[in-house]
Structures are given as C-alpha cells and as structure tokens.
Symmetry: D2
C-alpha cells in the first residue's frame, strides 16, 4: 500500500477517534476496545492503533498498565495549561516572525484572511457567519505558525494546537448559542489586526504579548462555560469530557 | 505481555535508535531497513517501529512516500529553532512556577541539585567532573519542568527537550574537549542560581527571561562548534548529523 | 511665606502655563516673555520661573542659549515615544504590584474605580459621561502607579504621565467629538478589568503586557487624529502644538 | 550672563551638591542652610537653589513644609526600586533600538567601547584598570540610551540614571576593594556583548531582558554590600546615606 494512502487512513482514523472521545460518548476511564471502535468507525486496526498512540500523546487517552488505552479524565486545569502552552508557542512563532521579518507573500495571506474574517463577522453579532469564521480563524492561526519561516516552529505550533481544547477554534462551534462568547469574536478580531501590525513593525515583544493575550480569550470562554452556565457547556464539543476537578 | 514490559522495550528501542542516528553512523537520506536495524540493535520489530514513529515526531527521521523512514538532514537552523522552542517552554514552566508559587519540597530539590552542581564544577575548569555535571544538570532541568505543579507543562517540557540537540545537556559530552564550552558551565550555574532566586521571589518575568537566556548558552556552544572549529564538532554526539546548510 | 502656599502657587502656575502651551496659543519657537506671561496669567515671577523650569524637563519648553525659554516644537515621534515611556513605566508598576502582591485595600479602590467607570460608560457610546470617565480614568491610573507600594515607582509613574500628551487621559477631552475614539473607551475598560485580574492572580508578565498594550490605545488615537482627520485634531487640547514632522 | 555659563554653573553646583549629600557628610533629616552650603562649596545662591530643586526630584533631598530642604533618608528599598526603574527604561531603550534598527555608526561606537572595556578589564581581576572601566562603562550605557535614535528616550534614560545609586557605575568606585564585586565586572562585560548582539539581530525581547538582568548586577552588589559586609559599604560613595530600614 502506498505511503500516501496509509497516511490518509491514519488521518481519517485520528480525526474520527478524536471526535468520538471529545463527544463524551465514551466515559472517562472507560477502556477502548480496538475491535468495537474499529467496527463502530469502520476503520481497520492498524491506523486505529496509530491514532490511539497519537491521542495518548495529545492527552486525550492514556495507556492502561495491563494493556490498551482508556479515555483520560481531562480537568479544567489540563485545558487551562494546554491553552497556556499553545499561547506561548504561538507567541514565540509571531515574535520570531517579527524579529526575523516575515515574507511579504505570507503577510498578504494573513491580511487577506483577516479581511475575510471581517466579512464573516458582519456588522454585529446577529450577522456573524460562524462556520465561515471558524474556518478562516483556523486558517489564520495556521498561517501565524508558519510566518517565521521555520519548519520546526510550524510543526511545534501545529502539534500544541491539538492539545485538548487548546486549538484556536476549540470553542467556536458552541459560540452560536452563547452571546457572551459571540461578542468575544469582535475582540479577537481586533487582536488579529494588532498582531499583523506588530509583526510588520518588527515589534516582537508586542506580537508575543498579543498572541498570549489572544489565547486568554479561549480561557475566558472556558471559565465562562464551566463556571457560569454548565448547561451551555454541552453545546461545545469536547467540553463534555472535561471535569471541573 | 505486560504493558510495563512493552513500555520498557519501547524506551530501550527509542534510546538505542536515537543514539544510532545521532552518532552519524547512518547517512542523512539513508533509508532505515527495519530488518537490518532490528538485528543490529537486537530489538524486535514492534518496539522498533514505535521508536521510529517517535523519532519522526522528534525530527530525527522522516517518512518516505514509498514507505519506511530515512534519516533526516538536520540543519543548524533546525537545531537553533529547537533550542528556541525548548527555552521558550522552559521559560513558561518557570514563569508559571513563580506566578503560582512552587512547592517548598520541589524547591528544596532544586537547591540541593544546584549545590551538588557546585561540587561537580569544582573551583575551576580543571577540577570539573563532567559526567556528574551532565547528570545533575539533566535532573535540574527536569525538576524545573515540574516546578509549576502541572502535568501538562511537565509533559510538554519533557517532549521538547527531546528535539534534535535541544536538550539541556545536548552539548555536555563534547565539553570535555572544548575549553570555551567548559568555561560556559560556570556561567550556566550562575543562571541556575538566579532562576531559583527569581522563582522564590515570585518574579515570573525575570524567571522566564533567565530560562530563555540560559538556553542561548546551548546555541552559543552550537555556533562555536559549527563555525569556529569543525574538527571539534565530532566530539559532540549528534553534531555529526547536522549540516551547516 | 509658608512652604505650602509656595507649593500651591507653583502648582497653579504650572497647570496654567502647561495649558497655555498645549492650547497652541503660543507658536513653537516663540520666546516666552516672563513679564508678559506673568501679566497674562496673573501669577508672580518666582512660581512662573519654577513652572517654566518644570516644563523644560517635561519637554514642552526648551531653554534658549541667549537666555529664557521658548515653546518646543513637539513632533508626533516625541508623543509616540512619550506614550511608550509612560506605558513602560506603568507596565513596571503593575508587574511589581503582581509580583510583590498588592494591598487588599488598594485593590478594592481599583475595583471600585473600574465599577464606576462602567457606570460612566453606560451601555453604549451614546450614553457615555465623558467628563466622569476622564476623571475616573485619571484616578484609576494614579492608583495603578501606587499599587506596588513603592514611593519611587509612584513618583516616576506620576512624572512620566506628565510628558507631552503621554498621560492616560490626554486624548479624552477630544473624544466627545470622535466616534472612532469613543468606541475605544470600551476596549480600554476591558483592559482595565484584565489588568486587575492579572495583578490579583500574581501574573506579572501578563499585567505588564496589558499596561503596555493599553498605552497603545492612546497611540492609536494619536495616529487616527493626526493621519486620518486633521480637522478633528483641533478638538484635542495639546494636539495643536504637535507637528506631523 | 550668557545662558551657557548659567548652565555650566548649575551643572557644577549640581554635581558638587550631589557628591556632598552622597558622601554622608550631611545627616539624613538635616536641614540644608543655603548660606552655609553656598560658602562651603563656593557657589552662588541661584545655581545652588536650582541644584537643590533638581536633587529633590532625584530623591536625594526633600522639601520641608516650613521652607528649605533637608537630606532625605534613602532606604535600601528606594535604591532597589531606583535600579529597577533604570533597568526598565534601559531595557526599553535597547528594545526600541532592536525593533527600529540602530544606526551603524552608533553600533560601531558601542562595539568600540566594549572592546576598550575588554582592555580595561585585562585577563583577570588583578589586572583590571577600574578607573578606565568606570569611565568606559558610563559611556557605553549613555550610548545604549541613545541607540534608539529618540531624543525622548535618551533624555528619560539619562534622567533615571541619576536616581539615588541607580546609575550604571554607582558601585564601581568601591569595587576596587571588594573581590566579589570585582568578579562581577566580567559577568557584566559578557552581558554588554550579548546586548549588542541582540540589538544587531533585531531581537528586542532578548535585548530588553538582558538590560534588566544587567541592572540586577547592581542590585546584587547592593545586597552584598548592605547585608554581608557593612564595613565595605563605606568604600562606596553614596552608600553612606542609605539606611537598611
């Protein structure tokens, strides 16, 4: 079998298994049966096993001493720290881009994405196209990770963006329902523009600080969902697996 | 087979394969034959395959489109950026420790390790016990990664310390032979003490900056070895695989 | 004459002379006649001379080699850098407050001021009481400067807040007329709350970064007034003395 | 009288009065008699009064409610915070130089000064020419303050360098006698080189952090002199006026 097809099957297995775990359909602590999951998702054992190994690294699953994996109990503290890690690495990525100078073409892509996010946002929360926002936001953050022109930085940024609920769009699907969070998108977009401005002005310290503060919005959304309105937590995929403890 | 034994065999395979790659015995670009490596290292195929997958993630190997893995061409830029990533995550770890407050017991361990590093250093370069220094230094950095009391932070710190030549002791084995680098150990130790002082004083900004500057010593050593004295590069395991390009 | 009365007369002279210079009534480069200014403002020569000396230090006036003072030509670059200095010192003040821990009473004062700023802002720009906002904002920033419990820090913060157009409320009087700037008050208030949150959580790095970014709002307002709408610049006292050069 | 001569007489009065206060010859709390000081230093009343006003601003003197000035009781905390202020402003100056790019000519001056500091240091502490070091060090720090090409930044940096014992060479005169501090000069010089390297590489975050850490050396020297060896404190002009409280 060609390597490319192998990789495709692995990526498919990874995304479907990650989604299954984040949906809360599997209880924390519950042992994953390879046979059952393989049948449920319709994927063969080899890519499934590789996907499980990856989810162990990402902190969604943990190995059981007697063999196999189980769903990990993710706590709010885990998610808070994962967001901190992502914000820190994203901050490093944009600082290096500012210090080393970003390629004009890559900056144009960022400008273009931010312009299109403006369109997705619309004039007010009532007009926002959330699906478009989530896609463009994910693309913008991916572009930030690559802006320093370093494959090492890009790879690490992509990796930490996969930590439990640490990704830039982790809370976006639920934001349709939660006004408090919907308003935060306009604050986020203001930070997007400031980030590009700082990188272009070669202001690395400011760019790094903005990226960290930007990640704090995700944490504020997490706090809001966990503390003030437990019912709304169900609206965000992945939050179902998070315990308050 | 028990999970624990599986893990032990995986760790053994990982360390031996990593050492083999870093030794320069395999040419960059050379395809790894599972059969040959399995026989050479005397480890069975399953843990070997898992070790190869990990080394792909760490940036030592890369997958070949037609199947299998080959040794990656690691450039100086890769190592520079890996050191930057490690310094950034270590900086985050000590900043969080300073902000949240570190456990007294964990701080005592750090103090104790630094005292023992003083003993290993001796009064001057001529007296330094390098093997002891390297071990204690590795233990000290591992302790820093855990000081914030966060499993997420500890795990990420441990992971980025495995990036190619990014670990805190990556250049220590070669330092026996290189006076310039041997002197740098005394500068490093001064930074170790300042780091603990800053964490205890709850000065997170200073702690983070010190950890980053501390990682820069590794980069200075890399620059020194690559630029000024190509012959000495051979004395550092792993440098053999780094191209100047 | 009692020292207190002397000081009062000096402060009165200082404020009136500063206002006169910022009003643009005196041309940049124009020599100040002690006699004329003394009569115009109705203040005696000794406090006037002390006030002139202070305004030389603040960068509003400059000494003439042949004796006396003249109004300095303040450029946009001067104001940009003065804002940077103020943001940097304010950042240091809140970082130290976070690291050393702020007194509960002083934090309560900050919380109270921010609550009252909410009231002054109202639900939207149309409802904002600008005079109340400007007073409360000035009081809040003064409180931030004192939060570290250091007289040295408080004094330096107060001093740099007097640099040309660097103060936290420098652009507030004109904001009545400029919608773009009026909207920025709501962004500023969000930063006020985040600042207190960071100080209370002992997060010095975040507090420092927030204070710097907060000062950038003043710079954004300056840029807006100077570049996009020269006519509106007249609405802000002090901008009349700033040249684009 | 020409303005230039006036300024010269003011500067002379300022330096002599500052030296008198720092020598400890005047008790903290002691009222300064204008007549007596004027006769003692051989300077006329007008420049003396201006010098006293400046020393009030610098924190060496304080005004008495009933008129006149007295020597302020400077505490260790005052000096610690003054050093922090100077390090913060110096950090800002070098960060801006890195971000905006420093003029090649100005950088050459810095390189040249650092080369000459190497000569002044010699191969070991026994060979160090302290007088030359102190002069070159002062010139180097003055050059750093100007490197961003901003008159506002240069002026503020010069001003905070005059805060009590906050200047870069505040502890240098006493270092002839104190081995611990003499060794610190070699650490300081290492930081000088790293500072220039960071500015040239456009690494503003690193440059700022280095300048702050560099100022910490002054604080370490202060701590050393105040806590471990009260007798040696007498060797440093200015320390005589500092109380431990």
């Amino acid at each position: 079998m060609a390597e490319l097809e192998k990789k495709t099957r692995f990526m498919k297995a990874l995304m479907e298994l990650r989604e299954l775990v984040m949906s809360g359909a599997l209880e924390p602590g519950q042992r994953l049966s390879e046979v059952a999951v393989s049948q449920q998702l319709g994927i063969s054992r080899t890519p499934l096993r590789e996907a499980m190994a990856r989810l162990v690294e990402e902190g969604f699953l943990e190995r059981i001493p007697t063999g196999g994996c189980r769903v990990r109990q993710v706590t709010v503290a885990d998610v808070v720290d994962s967001i901190e890690v992502r914000g820190t690495i994203e901050g490093m990525a944009v600082r290096l881009a500012a210090e080393r100078g970003a390629a004009p073409g890559a900056l144009r892509v960022c400008h273009d994405l931010v312009d299109r996010i403006d369109e997705a946002l619309g004039a007010s929360e009532a007009e926002t196209d959330f699906e478009a926002y989530a896609d463009l936001n994910a693309a913008f953050h991916e572009a930030l990770g690559a802006l320093a022109g370093s494959e090492t930085v890009r790879r690490e940024h992509a990796r930490v963006s996969q930590l439990p609920l640490a990704g830039p769009s982790a809370f976006l699907q639920g934001q349709i329902a939660v006004p408090e969070i919907r308003r935060s998108l306009f604050v986020a977009q203001r930070q997007h523009r400031a980030l590009i401005e700082a990188i272009e002005a070669r202001e690395g310290t400011r760019a790094e600080a903005l990226a960290r503060e930007h990640a704090r919005l995700a944490r504020a959304n997490l706090d809001y969902l966990m503390q003030r309105d437990p019912d709304e937590a169900g609206a965000v995929p992945g939050l179902a697996m998070v315990s308050a403890g």
